[in-house]
Symmetry: C2
Subunit: 164 residues, 2 copies
DNA sequence: ACAGTGAGTTCAGATTTCAAACTCTATGGA
DNA sequence: TCCATAGAGTTTGAAATCTGAACTCACTGT
């Protein structure tokens, strides 16, 4: 079989997985909405930024908002779908803060008054979504947990899945 | 200024932001730990996969675990740091499920018995970390919310930040 | 002895990225 | 009017990366 695994992670990455795409979204979340400011803050080549903005607009993550008629000038704002990418940025930020930064360059103060330390939880029960608490169920034909190692016992798969 | 913004998101992406890197981690979370299985499930060229695995091992996200001496053969397992990337994958998955898939190819059953619908919350107070509930504080010199638009009033910046 | 497997490596060609320069429209000042 | 500046790109040619196919090397199983 040479078709890759059907997967929403891969699908999402086809929208925001190119180099600089998520940094563009970071800037928009920070309130930076114009081409030159983005280019400077991200450090991306201008033609690449042009391509990424087009792609993100086409994918419905950003929208162009005119702020000047002549010459035509646009800002880039988040759509609802774009706003829902915030958790992705927060989890990336959190991992970098923990594992790569001695002192985080940006801290988010949550409305409860503390500096944000975020976790991913189950909306239904509120408990943290840890690897061990999750069992994948494959809905696509022919794709089970372990790919080629289809013969492994389910329990073993679960152990592997937990990353142990 | 031509230096990009100092940022943990960008730092994290320098570890897992290359094409296929996050899909490699997805496979390991699914229990797929060997080269050929990964190559097939991801659909990546073999030399690219080799490079990504090296990079992820070097970054301390994966570790090589020998399972055969001659010829030398290794599996790739998650380190603690690697396991902590799970929230990134979950948030990407969730966005794809919501916005790109009609029927998610994989569903995670949480230990509470429901199919996982995840949210990112503040560990301290438990409330969801929405854009509107967060105020960024910049700890690096010279970097404020709006980049070049340093003159914007703080309130305006906050509004922009919310993506409105 | 011979086919098959696992994990790469090598290679030529296609695609992207990069940084700098250039374009086009418009505004502000001397 | 003339000149400088700004914003948002587009163009360019060289450098880096990605792609798919073929090849290597060390075994294993029959």
């Amino acid at each position: 079989m040479t078709t890759p695994r059907p997967c929403s992670i891969a699908d999402t990455l086809s929208v925001v997985g190119e180099k600089y795409s998520l940094l563009v979204l970071r800037e928009v979340f920070f309130g930076v909405r114009r081409f030159n400011d983005m280019a400077r803050n991200i450090g991306a080549p201008r033609d690449v930024l042009t391509a990424r903005l087009h792609h993100l607009v086409e994918a419905g993550v950003l929208e162009k908002i005119p702020y000047n008629e002549r010459p035509p000038r646009f800002e880039y704002g988040l759509t609802t779908a774009g706003r829902e990418l915030q958790p992705v940025l927060l989890t990336l930020l959190q991992w970098g803060d923990r594992h790569l930064a001695d002192r985080p360059p940006v801290v988010f103060e949550h409305s409860c008054g503390t500096d944000l330390d975020s976790i991913v939880v189950c909306r239904h029960c509120g408990a943290e979504a840890t690897p061990a608490s999750l069992t994948p169920r494959f809905q696509a034909q022919g794709w089970n947990a372990a790919g080629a190692a289809e013969l492994r016992a389910a329990e073993e798969i679960r152990t592997f899945y937990r990353g142990e």
